[in-house]
Structures are given as C-alpha cells and as structure tokens.
C-alpha cells in the first residue's frame, strides 16, 4: 500500500517535473532573448552615446533613393570636403569641430600577431582629437606624428602591449609605431579595437582626397543645439552636399539602426522560443491528460456528490497554474543564466558587453505571462474534458475517447499546403518582384498546413515507414505500428515538434550546401588566376598590390576594388576592376556587348539588374558620388557571381569617383607568368603578405574553401540552436511515450501474460519512439528541403546560383533521428518492462 502510494507520488512528480521543465525551457528562451536584446541594445546605445557626443553634426546629404538597401547601410551619404572645417569653426556658438577621420587599421600585438576584434568585431584607427569629449586620455601623451599611437583600454589589454612598447600597424602600408598613451571611451566596446592616431596621419590614411563622412560640432557653453544647428545651416547655405543636424537626431538614427538589426536577431531567437513553447504546451497537455485520466473516478465521485463541472475544471487549472508559475520563474532564472553564460563566453573571446544583465519588469512580466498562459491553455482541453464527462461514464471501466483528426482541420491543412506549395513554386519559377516575401508566406503556409494535416496522414505514412520493421520483427513491429497509429493526433503533434526543427535543419543544410557549392562554382567557373590574395578584414592594404605586381614571375596582379556609388540616382556598391583583368584572371559570362569596351571607359552591368531596369548595351548611365558625377556608357551586360554587384567600372573611372577613403581593395587575383614555378611564386607571395599579418595567399581550391567556410561559421550557431529545439522535441517524445504506456497498462499486462518478454516489450516501445522520431524527421526534411529548393531560384541575385541537396548529410540526420528516438525510449521502455504482470492486468 505504501509502495503503491509512493510510486504514484513519484510518478506524478516525474510528470509534473517534465511539464515544469518544458515551461522552463520555453520561458528561458523568451526571457533570454529579451534580456540579451536589452543587454546588446544597452551596450551599443552606450557606444553610440559615448562615440557621438557632438551637439551637432555636419554630414553629406542622402541621395534621392538610397538608405533602404541594407548592403549600403551607413554608406548612403556622400562625403563632404575636409575644407569645410574652417567655415564650421567660424560659425557663431561653435566651440570645437572634430572631423570623422577613422577607418580600418591592423594593430600588431605583443605576440607578433594581429590584434583581432572579439567575435569578428572590427579594428578602427581614428584621429585623436582633444576636443572630442568622447575620448579621455588616461595616461601618457597624445600621439604626435606617424610614429606614435594611443590605444584604447580594452585594445591595450587585448594586445598585451604597454606604454613605451614599439610595435607596428598596417595602415595602407606597415608602419613602426610606439605606444605613447592609453585612452578610454568610458564604455564597453563590444569587442571593437581602437588605435588613436595623430590627426595628420589619420587624415592622410582615411581622407587622402580630403573627403570625410561627417564633422562633430561642439557648442560653446549655453548655446542650445537648435540654435547651433540653425547657425550651421546658415553657414552651409552655399554647400548643397552638406547638411547640419542635431546630435540628438544622429544618436537617435544610430540607435534606430541598431534596434533594427537587434530586432532581426530577437525575431530569429523568438522563433526558437515559439518552437520550444509549442512543444512545452504539448507536454503540459499530455501530462494533464494523464493526470486527469488517473483521477477520472475521483472527479466522477466529486461530481456525483455535487461538485459542479466548473469546480472540477478549476481544480485542474490550479495545478496548471502552479506548473506554469514554477516553470516560468525557473525559466526566467535560466534565461538570465543563459545570457550570463553567453556573455562570459563572449568576454573570453574578447567581446566585452555592458556590465549588468538587464532584467526589467517587462521581461519578467512577459516571460511569466507567456509561461502561465501556455500552461493554462494547454491544460484547459483535458480539464474541460474531465469536467464535462458525465459521472456515470467516468465510473465505467474503460473510457475510450475517440480521437480522430477532424475533417475541417484536415481540409484547412490541405488547402494551406496547396496554397503554400503554389506560392513557393511561383516564387521560384515566376519572375516576381517580391519573390522573397512570397516564398516566406508559402513556407509558413506549408509548415502550418502540414501540422494541421499530419494527423490524417499519420496512419498511411507510418504504415509505409513501419513496413520494414513489421516484416523484420514479427510481431513487435506490428504492435508498435498499431500503437503509433491508434491515436494519430497525438503521434502527429509529437512528431510535429520535431518536424519544425527538422524542417529548419533540412532547409539550412540545403542552404549551406547550395551556398558552398555556389561559391565553389564561382571560383571554378570564373577565376582563372593562379593565386588569390585576401585579407581577414576584407580590406587588402593598397600597398601590397604594387609589391605583388613587382614580383618576378607575376604576369598580372588584378585588384578588385569596391566602394559606394550613386548610379542613376540609386546608391549602390560598385566594383572597380582593371579593364584588362577580364580574360586574364577572371572569366565572366557576357550576356551581351563586349568587356573589351571597358578599356574605353564603358561599364558593365549585371544581367538581372539590366532586365529589371531596362538597361541595354549602349545606354548612358549617370554615375556620381558627392559633388562629382559622370556619364558612362553600358558596354556589356554580364552575369558574374565573382563580381557580385550591379555595376562594374573600369578602375580609373571608379577611382575618379569613389573617395579614396571609401575605396577598398577586396581581392587580388594573381596570374603567374607562363612556365614559372608556382611553388616558388607562392612562397614569394606569402613572404610579401607576411608583414601585413592579415593577408592570406590562396590557390583556387583554398579560395573556394575559404568562401565556403564563411558560410559554415554562421551555420554552426544555427545548428546549435536547432540542436536545442531537437532536445525539446525529444522531451515531447518521452512524454508521449510515458502517457501512452500509462494508458496501455492493462494491454501491456495482457501481452506479458500471453508470453511477451521484457526485452520484447522494451523493443516495442523503442520501435514506437523511433517510428515517431523518423516520421517527424522525414516530414520535416521533405518540408525543409522542398522549401529550400526554391531558394537558389529566388536568391540567384544574392549569389546563390546552384541548388545542392546534401543527401549524405540529410541521410545522416535521418539516421540520427533513429538514435534520438531510441534514446527517448530508454526511460519509458524500462518503466514499461518493470511493470508487474499481475498489477498491469488488473490495472484500472
């Protein structure tokens, strides 16, 4: 008797615990997302606050139609001449003017390697200006001349250098410098590294042609921002390229931009939170169904002696509320712990974020509310059923609740799937202007539709999936199949949780393979160079181009430059390339026209853009930047992945327009003189690159790998998140198995009585679990791969040219799902096998 009571408490505890964990995981995701966002936002806001302390800003005007394209984010404004400085200084109310003289720099640390920004954050060089109130010199002196630098505090730590040390920086060329001071911005730098330079040095490096992006203007004491801006506007009346604005507005804009980017990140994370909450809700519903079932007679008795359905309903919901509150509270704690862990890891990687993890009332409130509502809603269905079951029926021995997928649900699901497939196919095949959103809507429709329709397909699909097991393991396979198909809705929702995660895995795998394959094909199809040189910062020092060209054995060193330009009124990133490059180190598919025309100053345009804008060979385009503008002729329409831009200009035209400060050498294609020793050449190139630290020499195969690696790095994070969603889905399987075994106790007793061994019973449970897992995985794979197959057609312009389906990887995932299913079955199988035959047979 005591044993029975203890066992019952223990098993209930386990079930409640599973519900609490389910809520915990979902809520942890929600709370973690919100507090991570708040922490990132406060870090970046304080950076904005610290780095943009001017009372007013003078900057280039925006072009008519720029700004919305994320690829030109922050570059949509033209540059303004540095010569405006005296005019600004002479304006009434102005105390100081600080031009924005900053750009990429590489600092060599104590250990002789480049000091890398934490987590891929950039390294900046900037002019030290005592007037800039955002920078405080803590110790040492201000940098004076090209041989002196001051390091920002975190940069100093990361580099291992100290005041007085001599090191070198890569600023155009390699320069020997001495560290003369340490400065602070008074805020965490989120991993970015800062080297403060003498103003003249910074101006020469970052504004060689005298153009800067902006000036920060500081007001005299007592001068209001508004007055200052009005006076600046008057002073700038004859400068159409420049505009004055308040400091507040600049800071607000910068924060809004950050908020947009963080918004993407949190939306992305919240999708995973939603998945985990969906599974959590499902686990709670299952748990309460079990508990309600076990207490059915108790409820019937209560009803018989006069309890109202409402009272029964309420008593169950109280339990759900307890589960929800416990889970949410623990979840908020876990979420904070998650963010703390993340911050710790990031800090170890050199990316410092602001001190305290913000946990405001709204984060706690929203997280608790989400957990509570999910628990209550999930428990409401079984609670309602318990409350409305007539007492007489509940007293009966076996209450078999017919659980068939409703017709309406299936029809709705089927309609959604069909519409979704139509949308996805349309986005891939038809030439839609908004293919992306159509694809997204289609994908959402398919996933939702499949979730709705899956209970209807469960019996048929599992019959097929189970066929080999049924044939191989008689009668265990057939028993397991019967168990997973007898309650299609439950099996479908268990598998559904896994399905969503696996659909993402499938889609991401296809995307990754396609991206890698696309870049590989670019290199294979387009690069005819013997070697390619790139920089870890994506910016090659310009000096290296001449050095490489001068090497014996080098026939040609073609540098691909990128920079912002306004083409026919639209701001875009353009490429400048030596006209002779085509056919020498780069082979580009020409749709019409001739690339030789680039030698005459004509430009090449991307085929898809030409089609969209109606451009043809011979048309004239206006190419402009800031105050300058030029008419150019379209000489060729090309289809190139390597030159992944709309407009490619001959290098001389490009450099005449793009300010030197924004002209970046992205890649250097090197061709060897015929017959020269490639190994020797490689050694020479490597030697030339060595002083720059960040420059690597790659052959074509390595170049392709390097490009593919960039994709894979992003994917690691994605796979980690997906792994978590799979873990939660496994919890769902465990829970469903536990429920189903509890419901089948009597049947299990019968099977054991007619001679089913313990191992055989465990095998049946395992097969059930594996079938469910494989069903969810295969369904998810079909959905994910199907949707992802449309991606290359839709995003061909973004460089996704090849559809590659990684069959091996997908098969491995399906194989893993077998393992996952087997693991999920361990607990429930052991429990089922331990059931006492007589107890089970006489179980009610």
């Amino acid at each position: 008797m005591t044993r029975v009571a203890l066992r019952s408490i223990r098993s209930h505890l386990g079930r409640f615990l599973m519900s609490v964990i389910a809520v915990l995981l979902g809520v942890a995701f929600v709370a973690g997302t919100f507090s991570l966002r708040a922490m990132l936002s406060s870090t970046f806001d304080s950076i904005v606050q610290a780095s943009a302390q001017g009372d007013a800003y003078v900057r280039g005007v925006t072009s008519a139609s720029g700004g919305s394209d994320p690829s030109t984010l922050g570059q949509e404004r033209g540059v303004i001449p540095l010569t405006l400085e005296p005019i600004l200084k002479a304006t009434p109310g102005v105390a100081a003017v600080v031009p924005d003289l900053s750009g990429p720099v590489v600092l060599v640390g104590k250990d002789g390697t480049a000091v890398s920004g934490g987590g891929g954050a950039p390294s900046f060089g900037m002019a030290y200006d005592p007037a800039d109130t955002g920078i405080t010199l803590i110790v040492g002196t201000a940098p004076n001349g090209p041989g002196e630098v001051v390091l920002e505090t975190a940069t100093m730590q990361a580099s291992g250098l100290a005041i007085g040390d001599t090191t070198s920086i890569v600023l155009g060329g390699v320069q020997q410098v001495r560290v003369v001071g340490e400065a602070s911005f008074g805020t965490a730098s989120a991993g970015a590294r800062f080297v403060l330079l003498d103003r003249a040095v910074a101006a020469a490096a970052f504004a060689p042609d005298g153009g800067v992006r902006s000036f920060a203007v500081y007001a005299r004491d007592g001068v209001a921002e508004k007055t200052l801006v009005a006076d600046l506007r008057t002073a700038l009346a004859d400068q159409p390229a420049a505009e004055a604005t308040t400091g507040d507005e600049v800071r607000t804009e910068a924060k809004a931009q950050i908020a947009t980017i963080l918004g993407f990140i949190s939306t992305f994370l919240l999708v995973f939170a939603a998945i985990s909450l969906f599974v959590g809700a499902f686990i709670i519903a299952n748990t309460f169904q079990m508990i309600v079932r076990q207490r059915q007679r108790e409820f019937a008795m209560l009803r018989a002696i006069g309890a109202s359905p409402g009272q029964v309903f309420g008593s169950i919901l109280v339990q759900a509320a307890v589960v929800g509150l416990l889970g949410s509270a623990a979840g908020v704690g876990a979420g904070v712990a998650l963010v703390a862990g993340l911050r710790f890891v990031l800090a170890r990687m050199g990316q410092e974020l602001s001190g305290a993890i913000p946990l405001d009332a709204s984060t706690v409130g929203i997280s608790m509310a989400v957990g509570l509502v999910v628990s209550l809603v999930a428990a409401a269905v079984p609670a309602r059923r318990a409350a409305l079951t007539p007492p007489v029926e509940a007293m009966r021995d076996e209450v078999v609740v017919a659980d068939r997928g409703s017709r309406l649900r299936s029809v709705l699901g089927a309609v959604l799937v069909v519409l979704g497939v139509v949308a996805v196919v349309a986005s891939a095949v038809a030439d839609l202007s908004s293919a992306g959103p159509v694809l997204g809507a289609g994908a959402a429709g398919i996933v939702l539709g499949v979730l709705l329709v899956s209970p209807t397909v469960v019996p048929a699909a599992l019959r097929v999936l189970a066929a080999p097991v049924v044939a191989a393991l008689r009668p265990l396979g057939a028993l397991a199949r019967g168990n997973v198909t007898r309650n299609p809705r439950r099996t479908a929702s268990t598998a559904g949780a896994l399905m969503i995660g696996m659909a993402l895995v499938g889609a991401v795998s296809v995307l990754a393979a396609s991206a890698a394959e696309s870049t590989r094909s670019i290199v294979q199809n387009e690069s005819t160079a013997d070697f390619v040189m790139r920089s870890a910062t994506f910016e090659l020092p310009k000096e290296i181009v001449a050095q490489v060209e001068a090497l014996p054995g080098v026939a040609a060193a073609d540098a691909v430059h990128v920079g912002p330009l306004t083409v026919d009124g639209a701001r875009t990133i353009a490429v400048g390339a030596p006209a002779a490059m085509f056919g020498r180190t780069l082979k580009v598919e020409v749709t019409s026209g001739d690339l030789a025309s680039l030698t005459r100053g004509d430009v090449a345009v991307r085929a898809s853009v030409a089609t969209a804008k109606g451009w043809a060979v011979g048309d004239r385009l206006t190419v402009a930047d800031g105050s300058q503008s030029r008419q150019v002729t379209i000489g060729a329409v090309i289809d190139s992945r390597a030159l992944d831009v709309d407009v490619t200009l001959p290098l001389d035209v490009f450099q005449s327009l793009v300010p030197a400060g924004q002209d970046v050498v992205r890649t250097l294609f090197v061709a060897a003189t015929p017959g020269s020793d490639l190994t020797a050449l490689r050694a020479e190139l490597t030697a030339a690159a060595k002083p720059y630290l960040i420059v690597s020499v790659l052959d074509n195969a390595q170049f392709a790998d390097a490009l593919a690696d960039q994709v894979n790095q992003v994917l690691v994070i994605l796979y980690a998140l997906l792994g978590l969603s799979v873990v939660i889905a496994v919890l769902g399987i465990v829970n469903t198995l536990a429920l189903s075994i509890a419901e089948r106790t009597k049947e299990i007793g019968l099977l054991r009585a007619v001679g089913l061994g313990r191992a055989q019973l465990a095998a049946v449970v395992t097969i059930e679990s594996v079938l469910t897992a494989v069903f969810g995985t295969v369904l998810g794979m079909v959905v994910g791969v199907g949707i992802a197959s449309a991606l290359p057609s839709v995003f061909a312009d973004q460089g996704l040219s090849v559809l590659a389906i990684p069959w091996t990887r997908l098969l491995v995932v399906v194989a893993l799902s077998v393992v996952v299913g087997a693991l999920a079955a361990v607990g429930p199988a052991v429990r089922a096998a331990r059931l006492d035959v007589l107890d089970a047979v006489s179980h009610e």
Binding site: M1, V4, A5, S8, R297, D397, E398, R474, P475, A478, L479, R481, G482, N483, T485, R486, T745, K746, E747, L750, L751, R752, A753, V754, G755, L756, G757, R758, Q760, V837, L838, D839, V841, S842, H843, E844
Partner: protein, 287 residues
C-alpha cells in the same frame, strides 16, 4: 473429495499445489489470502474454482499461473515448479505452456482477430500450425470475423477470440479468470460451451475461476474456496448442485461444514478475507 496424488508431479495432474500460502502485507496488517491450499487439477478436465468474494480463488489461479508469487508452498504446472521460476522462465512458460482468458480486455485493439489469435505464437516466433488454427477457429465459429478489429466484434465474439488465442499454441493448461463475467447469458453459453468442447474434443485442460453457478456447471469438477482454504468440491456439477453447495458454504458461517472442523477460525478468517478484499479495491483505486 478426490484424494490428493501422492506425487504432485505425476502425469495425471496438469497442475498441482501443496501447502500453498500467500500472505499480503507484513506484521499487523498481514493477510493470509491463501492459507495452506493443497489441490490437484486433472489433465484433460475442466475445473472450476468458486467461492465468495475474497475467498482467495483469484489468488489461487494467479499463483498457479505464475502471475503471482506464493509466500510458501509449491506450485507445479505440467511437471515444472512454477514457484521457483525467474521472470525469464515464467515468460517462457506463459508463452509455451499456458493460455489465458481474462474477464475483460483480452485483445490488443490494434490487431485483427486473426493477429490476436496467433499473437502468442508470433511472440514465441513459432510457426502457426494452420490445421490446428483452422480447427480452433472453426470451433469458436469466427471464420468470417478474422479480419475484424476487436472494436468491431461483440463482447461474446471478443471472448471467443480470446479463447481461440488461449488454445492456438496448444498450451498444457488454459487459465480462465471469470471469462463470462461481462457477458449476457447467450454469449456466456457460447464461450463456456467452447471451453468445455476444447476439453472434450481437443483434449485441453482448463482451470476457470467463476462466481456464476451456471458457468461452473460446465466444468467436470468444481472446487470451493473460502478464507483461503479449500472447503469443498463437486464432481459433474449442475447449476442446482452448485447452488446447493454454495448455500451450504454460506451456512458454514454458522455451522461447521462437513469438510473441515475449523469453524472457530472460520469467521475470523472471513473477516480477514474481507479486509484483503477491501485492500485490493483500495489499491486498485490508487493506481
């Protein structure tokens, strides 16, 4: 009363028990559900076990069938000592030597009637003897129902499927626990008739627990249990003789029954038995 066999393992008995004791609980709360039972079940006979609620009749059957472990005493089934068996051996025993028919929930709902019938053979990975299968199926008259699921069968048909399943592996003995407890009289008749014919025509041995005198009258022999002890028996019973015997048993609460002279202990044992029963019910509710 038949004399007990000198050798319980002798082949005339399909199953036998000697000084079988089953105690539930410990200390003050200990209850003797079986209090030293000696019994032989003859091969090729149908034996019914009767007795009031809590008399220990189900416990006796469960111990005989290896579903429950006796506290002391020996249980032999077809010459094998069931009481000493480990789980693995018990599973094998159930698979090959025993057939079961329970009061309710006898069939796996996801399997067809035919699959349910062959289930013990499938589990044992034994070949189905089609000739024997046909004999059994025809005997229960389910030829046209083989493809149906249990939910598509009537209660009587379900019990007949269960009987067929119990017989298809040619077990040494079939244990039936209130096989007609949930059936109307016509369906009961069909099921009992089949069980009896399985003995008479197919040479089976059947042990059946029942509280229904009509059901008991189908047996060759009826054993009466009270307070965990064997208190009487009837050969070639009819409903009337069974009823008479039960009445005599009821009277035994006040007067000594002819079989035993333990009247003083009897009433006390009866109360204890009721306690056992009550405890079982409570346990059932807790699960």
């Amino acid at each position: 009363m038949r004399a007990l066999a000198a050798d319980p393992a002798a082949t005339e008995q399909i199953a036998s028990a000697r000084t079988l004791v089953k105690v539930y609980g410990t200390g003050e709360a200990a209850v003797r559900a079986l209090d030293g039972v000696d019994v032989d079940f003859a091969r090729g006979e149908m034996t019914a076990i009767m007795g009031p609620s809590g008399s220990g009749k189900s416990t006796l059957m469960h111990c005989m069938a290896g579903l429950d472990t006796p506290t002391s005493g020996t249980v032999l089934v077809d010459g094998e000592n069931v009481g000493r068996m480990k789980q693995r051996d018990l599973t094998r025993l159930r698979r090959t030597r025993l057939g079961f028919v329970f009061q309710s929930f006898n069939l796996i709902p996801t399997l067809t009637a035919e699959e349910n019938i062959t289930l013990p053979l499938d589990i044992a990975r034994a070949d189905v003897d089609r000739g024997w299968f046909d004999t059994v199926v025809d005997a229960v008259g389910l030829r046209d129902r083989l493809d149906h699921r249990p939910s598509e069968l009537s209660g009587g048909q379900q019990q007949r499927v269960a009987c067929a399943r119990a017989l298809v592996s040619r077990p040494s003995v079939v244990f039936a626990d209130e096989p007609t407890g949930n059936l109307d009289s016509r369906s009961s008749g069909e099921v009992l008739d089949f069980l009896r014919r399985s003995v008479d025509e197919l040479g089976q041995s059947v042990v059946m627990v029942t509280h229904d005198p009509t059901a008991a009258s189908y047996a060759h022999r009826v054993l009466f249990l009270a307070d965990g002890r064997l208190v009487g028996e009837l050969e070639d019973p009819t409903p009337e003789t069974v009823l008479d015997a039960l009445r005599a048993l009821g009277a035994g609460r006040r007067e000594p029954v002819p079989h035993g002279s333990r009247s003083s202990a009897h009433a006390m044992a009866m109360d204890r038995d009721a306690a056992v029963h009550g405890q079982h019910l409570a346990a059932g509710h807790d699960k």
